[in-house]
């Protein structure tokens, strides 16, 4: 898929995010929109997966450690064909398989239940370790928030991954700079993130998380890095694509009302139009 196709797809995935959260009247649009490009890249370019065979033994694994960004994961999975896109409207509703945070028992294709921050990365490390024990060549990806890495368990897992030289593991940190109580720098600074992962024996790559060329290059570099796990730091804009949500901590876990939803969808439509122009 070329960059333009990926951009168009990412915009559809963003619409799915906003629509799901609006329908649910609850959820986490800010981070979901911010990581949408990366999740799109993973599900449409990077990972060896088959929606028709979600438990395929040789598949690459993905653990959304920042589980509150489930709307991004669900939207990407729906667009990839794991379940109908229409079902995104059932997000967080009673009886829906789209729980507020990812649940592997409810949705085939979700490799690990998550939501309690800091835990997903450990499960991803376990999956990478299983791959090494069994000499399998699948890769494991896990996406964390920059606020999430304040959890001590993240560093327990990183120490282990570095120690075991799990080069089949790619840890991705979504550095949007914001968490519920404000900027991560003000709340409890995790910076410098890269140096911390380097100290735990990771290969570290820092990129613009909205640049598909950069994503392509970074994931390729991660794959070619042997003898150590890779950490990709994505510099992103929380709320990316929706004008009034961009870089606003207040949109971390708030759903748009009907009026705001209309503005958000109009913003995304505008992006569609620009991409159409680019294509022409």
């Amino acid at each position: 898929m070329n960059n333009l196709e990926l951009k168009k797809l990412a915009n559809q995935i963003r619409k799915g995010i906003v629509t799901g959260v609006h329908e649910a009247k609850a959820g986490h649009p800010g981070g979901s929109l911010g990581c949408a490009d990366c999740v799109t890249y993973l599900y449409f370019e990077e990972m060896n997966i088959d929606p028709k065979n979600p438990k395929m033994d040789s598949r690459d694994r993905f653990v959304l450690s920042k589980g509150h960004n489930a709307p991004a994961l669900y939207s990407a999975m729906a667009h990839r064909g794991y379940f109908p896109v229409e079902e995104l409207k059932t997000l967080r509703k009673l009886g829906s398989h789209l729980q507020g945070h990812p649940c592997m028992q409810h949705v085939p294709g979700i490799d690990m239940s998550s939501g309690s921050l800091g835990q997903g990365i450990s499960a991803a490390v376990g999956m990478a370790l299983a791959g090494k024990l069994d000499n399998k060549d699948y890769r494991v990806y896990t996406l964390l928030g920059d606020g999430e890495i304040q959890e001590g368990q993240v560093w327990e897992a990183s120490m282990f991954a570095g120690h075991r030289k799990l080069d089949n593991l790619c840890v991705i940190v979504d550095n949007n700079g914001l968490q519920i109580d404000g900027s991560v720098e003000d709340v409890c600074s995790p910076y410098p993130i890269g140096k911390k992962f380097e100290a735990f024996n990771f290969h570290v790559i820092e990129i613009d998380g909205h640049d598909f060329d950069a994503l392509r290059k970074a994931f390729s570099e991660a794959k070619n890095t042997k003898g150590m796990p890779t950490c990709i730091i994505l510099n992103t804009v929380k709320g990316k694509g929706v004008s009034f949500m961009e870089n606003q901590a207040s949109w971390h876990g708030t759903a748009p009302n009907d009026e705001q939803y209309a503005v958000a969808m109009a913003d995304l439509e505008k992006i569609d139009e620009e991409l159409a122009k680019e294509e022409a």
Binding site: M104, M112, S116, S122, A123, A130, F160
Partner: protein, 313 residues
């Protein structure tokens, strides 16, 4: 019971894992720098590639086990009860229990028989914590034979299992050719008609001693060994309560939330009878030898006997 063979159930855990490891290559054992104490060192020696030392990081260890389980491994997570059930409670709840993953937790050094290390390491809350997690099987074996049977049954069971083992040597009471183990099934280890003592773990042999003493006073005590705290053998307990009309529970655990609470839950719902809960009475332990502590907190035969007499008075 001085002439009875005694083995700590943590030893049984390690030995059973070796046996299991030979049969099933998917079995992996995880430790958090305590392999020497959890007795999994024997597994490490036999299968070094399948023993994973996670360092002193129990929360991460539980998460790694969850990830391994999603890939078809049968991980046995080993640590002290305090850290496996206590420190890593939320990881067990969210990364293992909620997705119902096939992770087995072997928690050693449970209860006050940890001894000299003192209250910080004496976990009297693990059964209560683990019992609250939906789908979790909770077992507390009474001796070496039952502990090994637990490990084998846990490996066969599809889903999360918590097993509680002790540090101190305890009498082997199930050494008979008819012994059978099944998850969720209790056993009447002594028949009686005046009261029922429902015991778990090291309190089973103590309850048998207490029953002998009671016999001399003309009191006929039925003793039930409940290894599986969850799911509880309600049928067996109710049948005995209907026969005797009085129930005493005995456990090396807080009287809040463990075996005693589980038994009360089923009795109060189905056949209410007077109950006396023997265990740690909402208090922390302290340093001392295992034997001295068990005696002080009245969890030995003599202590159970005295508390039953009080209950009957």
């Amino acid at each position: 019971m001085a002439d009875v063979k005694k083995i700590a159930t943590r030893e049984s855990y390690g030995n059973a894992l070796v046996e299991l490891g030979e049969k099933n290559k998917d079995v992996v054992v995880l430790d958090a720098d305590l392999a020497a104490a959890t007795k999994t060192g024997v597994f490490k020696k036999a299968f070094p590639d399948r023993h994973i030392d996670c360092g002193i990081a129990e929360s991460n260890m539980v998460g790694i086990a969850a990830g391994l389980a999603t890939c078809g491994k049968i991980p046995f997570v080993s640590s002290f009860a305090m850290f496996a059930a206590g420190r890593a409670f939320e990881q067990v709840r969210n990364s293992v229990g909620y997705p119902h993953l096939n992770v087995k937790i072997g928690a050693t050094h449970a209860g006050i028989s940890v001894g000299e290390d003192g209250a910080s390491h004496q976990c009297n809350e693990d059964l209560a914590l683990m019992r609250t997690i939906p789908g979790m099987v909770v077992m507390c074996p009474a001796d070496d034979i039952e502990a090994k049977a637990c490990v084998m049954a846990a490996a066969e069971h599809d889903g999360p299992v918590y097993m509680r083992f002790g540090r101190a040597a305890c009498p082997v009471i199930n050494d008979n050719p008819d012994y059978k183990f099944e998850i969720g099934k209790g056993t009447v280890v002594r028949e009686g008609s005046d009261l029922t003592i429902v015991a778990t773990g090291i309190c089973v042999s103590a309850a048998l001693e207490a029953a002998e003493m009671l016999e001399k006073d003309g009191v006929s005590a039925e003793v039930i060994n409940i290894c599986t705290i969850k799911p509880l053998d309600e049928e067996l307990i109710l049948a005995s309560a209907k026969k005797t009309g009085k129930v005493v529970t005995a456990e090396e655990h807080s009287v809040i939330g463990g075996l005693g609470s589980a038994v009360c839950d089923t009795l109060s719902a189905n056949y209410p009878v007077p109950v006396k809960k023997i265990g740690m009475q909402d208090m922390f332990g302290e340093s001392g030898s295992a034997a001295a502590l068990i005696e002080k907190y009245q969890l030995d035969g003599k202590g159970i006997y005295a508390q039953v007499k009080e209950f009957l008075a």
